[in-house]
Amino acid sequence: MRYARIRYHSHARKRMQQRKISRAQVERALRDPDRAYESWDKLVVEGATAAGNTVFVYYVETSPGEALVLSVKRRRGAPYERSE
């Protein structure tokens, strides 16, 4: 999944700041996701962080090669490891 351009919704920027998720983490998840699927009419990628957690990126493709990041969140544990 390669996006030539990645834009950030203001909602996503706020959540990134609030949840202490960096652009690098988001863009790494988009570039090389561990999981990719759709949820709530949005595209989702999950990427592992260096600390062993998972970053979730919710986004839409606004045009070919362009992603608009809508929200992000973090969960403890690596992708695929579901605690529930």
């Binding site: 919704h9 909602h11 706020k14 959540r15 609030q18 949840r19 949820s39 709530w40 009419d41 949005k42 919710y58 839409v60 809508l70 929200s71 969140k73």
Partner: protein
């Protein structure tokens, strides 16, 4: 409570202030909760309009429309200043004005070209918004 809402992408965030959280969070199915170090809820994020609407109806917001949140009234609020008539949708305003005139559901339905079931739904939502239990209490409140 501060609400950020983007209907285009279905992005919704409710920032809770101290004391607002706990009684409403149990309704927040489908939401991501932001917690502080002590586990208190600071905010709720919804990525689905459906889940958000369910939540907001539960806590007293009636309408989520393209224009945004058109009516806000905490459940149980009896202060009529909380729910100004101008905050209602045009249809709700029509219903509430006919209710205040003393019309029955059937009369309101006939006047507005709606089914009685639709009128009942509008009234149900209005009662919740006004924090009243029935039309008599609503009329009393609207008359003040």
């Amino acid at each position: 409570m501060k609400i950020e809402f983007d209907p285009e992408y279905g992005l919704l965030y409710i920032e809770l202030r101290e004391g607002e959280a706990e009684e409403t969070v149990d309704l927040a199915k489908g939401a991501h909760l932001d917690l502080d170090a002590e586990g208190r809820v600071l905010g709720l994020e919804f990525l689905s309009l459906g889940a958000f609407e369910h939540y907001m109806r539960g806590v007293g917001v009636l309408e989520v429309s393209e224009e945004g949140l058109t009516t806000w009234a905490p459940r149980g609020a009896r202060d009529s200043a909380v729910l100004s008539r101008t905050s209602l949708t045009p249809r709700q305003r029509e219903v509430v004005e006919l209710l205040a005139e003393g019309m029955t559901n059937r009369e309101i339905a006939e006047r507005l070209g709606l089914s009685e079931a639709t009128v009942r739904q509008h009234l149900h939502n209005l009662y919740k918004a006004l924090g009243v239990r029935n039309r008599d209490e609503a009329r009393t409140l609207l008359a003040t």
